[in-house]
Symmetry: C2
Subunit: 244 residues, 2 copies
C-alpha cells in the first residue's frame, strides 16, 4: 500500500482504512515515521534501506500465517514501489504458503512533484530511474535518448546518490543533444513535507542545483514554458485551444 508523498492529507481514506485494519505494519523506517500518528497500538516491523526483499518476504510469510499485514511504500507502491517485489517473490513461493494480495495505490512522487511545479505533465511523458543497481547503464541511456528524441516530458527518479553521481551528468548531456539549454526543468525534494524544496531552473543549469536520492527531476518538452514560477506544458502542439 502507498502512503503518498508524506503529508497525511495526501493519504487516501482507503489506505488509512487498511492501516487501521492491519494487525502488522511493515515498512522502511523513514516512511513509518511519516505515518507515526496512525501506528499507535500496532505491531510494527521497521527496517532499513535496501532491506526491501526481507520486508516483502516477512510480509508474505506473516500474511500467509493468517495476519492482516500492511506493507508500506512511500508514494505509490505501483510506481518503482514495493508491489512488484512482493509479486516477484510470491511467484516463486509454494501456492499453499500464499496469502491474498491487494495493491492500494497512492499519490506517487511524480503526481506530487508535478502538482508543486505547476503543470509539467500535461502531455506525454517518460519516467526513467537513473539507478543502475538492477538495470544496465546502456538500457538507461537508450531510454534517455529515445525519450529526448521523441519530445517526451522526462521524469527522472533516483537521479543521484552519494556513490552514484555521474548518471545525472550523462542524462543532462543526452537530453541536451535534442533540446535547448533553456528548456525548463523542475526539481522537487520531499514534496508536500515540512522541509519541501522546489527549484525551477533550465537544462543547461540544472546541475548547479542540489539533487539527491530524495529529489525528483522533471525536464520539460519542446513546448514547456515557465509562467510566474510554474512549469507549464501545453496540452498540444497548437495554441488553438479554441479547438476544444
Amino acid at each position: 500500500m502507498g502512503i503518498g508523498p508524506g503529508g497525511l492529507e495526501h493519504l487516501t481514506p482507503k489506505a488509512k482504512g487498511i492501516i487501521d485494519e492491519a494487525q502488522v505494519i511493515i515498512g522502511y523506517k523513514t516512511y513509518l515515521d511519516l505515518i507515526e500518528p496512525l501506528l499507535m497500538g500496532k505491531e510494527v516491523i521497521s527496517s532499513g534501506m535496501r532491506q526491501e526483499r526481507d520486508r516483502c518476504a516477512r510480509a508474505i510469510g506473516l500474511a500467509a500465517s493468517g495476519k492482516i499485514v500492511a506493507l508500506i511504500s512511500g508514494g505509490d507502491p505501483g510506481i518503482y514501489g514495493m508491489a512488484g517485489l512482493v509479486f516477484e517473490l510470491a511467484s516463486s513461493t509454494p501456492p499453499d504458503r500464499l496469502p491474498l494480495f491487494e495493491v492500494i495505490p497512492g499519490i506517487a512522487a511524480l503526481n506530487a512533484c508535478a502538482s508543486r511545479l505547476g503543470a509539467p505533465l500535461m502531455h506525454d511523458f517518460a519516467s526513467i530511474s537513473l539507478s543502475d543497481l538492477l538495470t544496465p547503464r546502456e538500457v538507461i541511456e537508450k531510454r534517455l535518448e529515445a525519450a529526448s528524441a521523441a519530445d517526451f516530458v522526462i521524469v527522472l527518479y533516483n537521479p543521484k546518490s552519494k556513490a552514484r553521481t555521474e548518471q545525472i551528468v550523462k542524462a543532462r548531456d543526452i537530453v541536451l543533444k535534442y533540446r535547448h539549454g533553456n528548456t525548463p526543468v523542475g526539481i522537487v525534494r520531499h514534496a508536500t513535507r515540512a522541509d519541501e524544496t522546489i527549484t525551477i531552473t533550465m537544462l543547461s543549469k540544472m546541475l548547479d542545483n542540489h539533487i539527491d536520492m530524495q529529489s525528483t527531476v522533471i525536464i520539460g518538452n519542446s513546448q514547456t514554458f515557465v509562467w510566474q514560477g510554474l512549469l507549464v506544458t501545453p496540452r498540444g502542439y497548437t495554441t488553438q485551444v479554441d479547438r476544444l
Copy 2:
C-alpha cells in the same frame, strides 16, 4: 484539483478539504456525479464534454472576483488534466484579473489502473495519449516507436473513441514491430468504480477486447509476466533480487 479514479475512498483528505472549503464547484458532469455526496448546499457549475476551456475561464473569473473555487478534474489534474489549461489561459489574462492558484494532486488513471492490474509500472514507463485533437499523428507515432524500441512499459490514454478507431490499431502495429505478440497487456475501464472492468490479454490479441475512451491500456515491457492473473514487471534486468 483531482478527485482520483472515482471511488470516494481514493479521494485524499486534502482534496476533500478543498471541496468543503470552496464556495463554487465547477466540473464535468460525470465527475461531479462521482462526488455528489460532497456537494450538498454548494454552488455547482456543471458542463459537458469538450467545454474544458469554458470551465477553466469561468473558474479563473469567479476566483478573481473573490470566490473560493474548486475546479474538478477526474484522476490527477496534473496528468492530462485541467491544471495545464488553467495556466495556459491564466498566462494570457491581465495580472490584475488573476486569483491565487493551487494544484491538488489526485490518484491518476495510471496509478489506479496499475494497482488493479498487479504491478506493471515497476520499471521505466512512457505515457502516451492517442488523441490527435491537439497533437499531430506523426508526433504520436514517433513516440510509440521510441517507447517501443527503448523497452518502456507503455501506458495508453484516450486509446479509442467512437470517431477515432484507427490509432489503437496503428499503435498495436508499431509496438508489435519491437515486442512479441505474447507481451502481456492490461486494459482497465472505470478503475475502482462499481462498474470497473479489468482485462488481461496479450499484444497480438488486445484488439479483440472492448476498448473505449474510458479505458486505459498498459502494454508490458520485454520482462513483464503474468502471474495468477496479474501483470508483473520486474524491477530490473536481472533476477538477482539478492543484490538488494
